[in-house]
Amino acid sequence: MAFNTFSYLLFLPVIFLLFLICTDRLRWLLLLVTSFIFYAFLLKPLLLFVLLAVIVISFFFGMHIEKAITSAERKKFLWFGISGNLFLLVLMKYLPFTSSRIIAIGVSFYVFQAISYLADIYLNMAKAETHFGYFALYLSFFPKLLQGPIERAGNLLPQLKAKYAFDYANFRFGLLLFAWGLFKKVVIADRLGVYVDIVYNNVHAFTGLPLLLSTWAYAFQMYMDFSGYTDMALGSARLFNINLTQNFNNPYMATSVADFWRRWHISLSRWIFDYVFEPLQMTFRSYGKWGTTCSLLATFLVCGIWHGASWCFVFWGLIYGIYLSCSVFYRPFQKKLYAALGIEKARFLKYWRIFVTFNLISFAFVFFRSNTLGDAFYLITHMFTGKKNLQPAFAFSQGKYELGFLFMAALIYVCICVLRKNYDFLSFLKLSPFKKCLAVYSFMTIILILGKFHHTNFMYFKF
């Protein structure tokens, strides 16, 4: 069940009301059962078995890692646990037999979470959970089940066990965050998607500006879609007094590619940094900068393949590997150059770097979005050729008003971003009750009227 569907808008309040009525002793059970029901709505029974298998494997080996006396035994159980989880991931996602029949929605997210749980126990950074029910809920908690964030046991488990007391501020904040995410998805991302799909699904019909504009539009569509989903997940969880990890922090304000990865899909970036990059870097540490380069290339190759078994994703991962590897070498010279020119603190330099970084990211996104590698290369080679004609770029819309609505939606988005401070909607709510109501009502009305409610899934579902 996707968050932008009518069914979820009915499902969430019902579960929340049941949660309020339940006693603390039974709340975990209610959330666990509803999480499985939520997953069952995908109508793919096999996925329920996979989730259950990941839970059982991780719980069992988590306990054994903790109980093991020798470090060899601990290591053995760690690898058994990781292998079991990875086997299921590969089976569901990469083997043609299963992956062609079923889209493994959510699998990579909870498998990664299970691996981090096992690794944290092995590294003595977390204790193994002894209550099977809480552990199952930790992996299957419905707001983060399909697209993350990838939660660490240390953050989520204590919150799931905490006693619940209704908190109006939390409740209000959760609803507002949910509405904000819905706005990003149905009003902005899906509108941008119309244009992006027209160009990217038929790239050979275009040259020049439409290709460039659709690539930029895709970068924003992806951000609005994914961060919209995350906001809706965080908002849903907040109703139950649970704070999930923030997954985005203004990624397109990043001043370098490394900075971008600290702000984009933060839970995955941290996971990859902790469990792939760091072990690799430790292995190659004696090779200095070249060791770091190899680690970065391998890490982003893994990241690319994680997104899917296609050459486009491999290229996308490699591009990031190359960006970051290059920065290992040029960063010291760059710093010296800026210092020599005396511009290291200049404001224009910051904006210039933001612009360059955004374009580097957009370039990588060409591979991420293209249907085939051939399309991606066509797009890159034809982006700055052809007629300098704006007409095809704007001729995308089914109706002539579409572009105006998109502009209007973008304006509302920017205004709200300026009005609120970071994610503090409450600062925006420090208005008189009447104005507050009017602002929220207007916002909800905009979503209901300007949103696109045709069955469009979230873009990260397929990963």
């Binding site: 009518f6 109508l43 009305t445 409610f453």
Partner: protein
């Protein structure tokens, strides 16, 4: 308790606010469409598309027809009542643009008690069964009077725009009554009494080589079953029919057989006659079709003649002496 009251108050407040906004947006018209329709990308005004305004006006005066056809544009362009009149059967075509089984169900719920047909021919358009019924409802919201079933249909789409546009219609119909509109003329189309739309196009399409699986929505399959149950409660025999599709379109749907088999099994379980004309009839893609999906007049005449024979052979329609039709 205080918080619950607060929440209820906020919800009621929002409902009032929302209705006020919809009222304002529905009261301003711009080039034949209200502002609400423009904002929600609902581009169909009264009299637009598919001749539904004329069809449903004519339907107001129809009682006790022999055959009622239901379905999408393939239905209103695919069943010519004049062919059935040659054997003295009164037929009416209640097809409408992108009418999915969900839309059909609510239309039948509304009109069956009044029309009381002797048999229903339910045209199954599998390409439309992949849609949620929102497109289907836009044509109906523009062209048929307000009814409880129309509200139920709006809610059943699961699309907030359908409900918003229903509210908009409530307001719009007060200010600009449906009766004050005329059917717009559609290029190359002619409305024939009995709900049929005849095209003057012979063949105007180019084949492409797209191949795509059709993913039928489960709720549309549920509505197919509900339609069969509904007909049963009114004791009206129903025949499920798949029109002959052009070879090129048929080849482009690799899972066609699976879907057709599923529909056939579902019909057989309820002892309903199911005829897939793709198994028994072949029409020329560039002679008998006006476009990729729809038959032209030549194709309709060929298809309807065969269908009529099949209905008579299956004893769904009993032979009649040719003479004046008294039921229409």
């Amino acid at each position: 308790m205080r918080n619950t009251c607060r929440l209820v108050f906020l919800i009621i407040g929002f409902a009032i606010f929302y209705f006020t906004v919809v009222f304002i947006l529905s009261s301003i018209q711009f080039k034949g469409l209200t502002l609400l329709q423009i904002l929600t990308a609902d581009k169909i005004g009264p009299g637009g598309w598919g001749h539904s305004l004329l069809r449903f006006r004519e339907l107001q005066n129809i009682k006790n027809v022999d055959i009622l056809f239901v379905g999408s544009s393939k239905a209103y362009r695919g069943y010519d009542p004049r062919v059935f009149q040659t054997k003295n059967y009164a037929a009416f075509n209640m097809g409408s643009t992108s009418q999915t089984p969900m839309n059909t169900y609510f239309l039948l719920k509304q009109y069956l008690p009044k029309i009381k047909p002797k048999v229903i021919v339910f045209d199954l358009d599998i390409t439309d069964m992949a849609m949620d019924g929102y497109e289907g409802i836009l044509d109906l919201l523009a062209n048929i009077p307000i009814s409880w079933e129309l509200l139920e249909m709006s809610v059943a789409t699961g699309n907030p725009h359908a409900v918003t546009n229903f509210l908009g219609k409530l307001i719009r119909d007060q200010k600009w009554p449906l009766a004050s509109f005329d059917q717009q003329n559609m290029k190359n189309d002619k409305y024939i009494s009995g709900g049929y739309v005849e095209t003057t196009i012979d063949s105007e399409w180019v084949a492409d080589d797209n191949i795509a699986k059709i993913k039928i929505l489960n709720n549309q399959l549920d509505y197919c079953s509900k339609i069969l149950e509904l007909a049963k409660t009114f004791n009206i025999p129903i025949v499920e029919v798949i029109q002959p599709m052009n070879d090129i379109l048929l080849r482009s749907i690799p899972n066609y057989k699976t879907i057709a088999d599923h529909l056939k099994n579902s019909a057989m379980k309820r002892s309903v006659i199911f005829i897939d004309f793709n198994n028994t009839m072949h029409l020329d893609p560039f002679v008998d079709y006006m476009d990729e999906f729809h038959l032209n007049q030549k194709g309709v005449l060929k298809y309807n003649t065969v269908l009529l024979d099949r209905l008579m052979a299956n004893k769904v329609l009993l032979p009649r002496a040719v003479g004046p039709i008294g039921t229409h």
